[in-house]
């Protein structure tokens, strides 16, 4: 069966520091991968999605970036964190083939910027 892993679960970082959040999927090949940010009462905001290695689409301009160095690995990064980057970050995947398949989420990273 397929599983998705995110780490770390919790992260506290100072303003201006760099960021690297990692997500990996097991048990499937060539998945579509997604990064979301979830703010209380505001739903899920799609940040990036990827349909293959090195292929990244950005949905919201900001100081975050994403990379997909391997088929089942998705990384969210920042060179300099802002206070506004605090939030709950979720990684998700869908099968690469087959339209309309639902997304499956990891357990998220709670990021606090001080």
């Amino acid at each position: 069966s397929q599983t998705i892993h995110q780490w770390p679960a919790t992260l506290v970082q100072p303003v201006g520091s760099p960021l690297s959040l990692e997500c990996t999927v097991e048990g499937t090949s060539n998945p579509n991968l997604y990064w979301y940010r979830q703010a209380a009462g505001r739903g899920l905001q799609l940040l990036f999605y990827s349909v293959g290695i090195g292929q990244i689409s950005s949905e919201v301009p900001q100081n975050l970036s994403a990379s997909r160095p391997q088929d089942r690995q998705f990384i969210l990064s920042s060179k300099k964190l802002l206070l506004s980057d605090s939030g709950f970050y979720l990684c998700a995947w869908t099968p690469g083939q087959g339209r309309g398949q639902p997304q499956h989420f990891g357990d998220g990273t709670r990021l606090s910027i001080l």
């Binding site: 995110q6 009462g41 739903g43 799609l46 349909v51 689409s57 979720l90 639902p102 997304q103 998220g108």
Partner: protein
Amino acid sequence: QKEVEQDPGPLSVPEGAIVSLNCTYSNSAFQYFMWYRQYSRKGPELLMYTYSSGNKEDGRFTAQVDKSSKYISLFIRDSQPSDSATYLCAISLPHTGNQFYFGTGTSLTVIP
């Protein structure tokens, strides 16, 4: 207009009650409908997935889709304290795998 609207609640019910959670959506082109359950400090967990009008049942959970009214519902029968969570509806388009739209979530508390 948002693609999908969901009443944020909070909703509080006694154990054993029937719970009804609802979402409306704006575009009749949406064809795939999902419900997720999210416990505090966890990621959303897929609960129900359907792509047609009508009802889909899974244990105590029933998902209902009314495409003519652009209305989707999740019913929980014999609610349990373990059902206390935030429930998110989600919809997607048929021609792309990358466009999902989520409701803001309804917070449910089932009181023992």
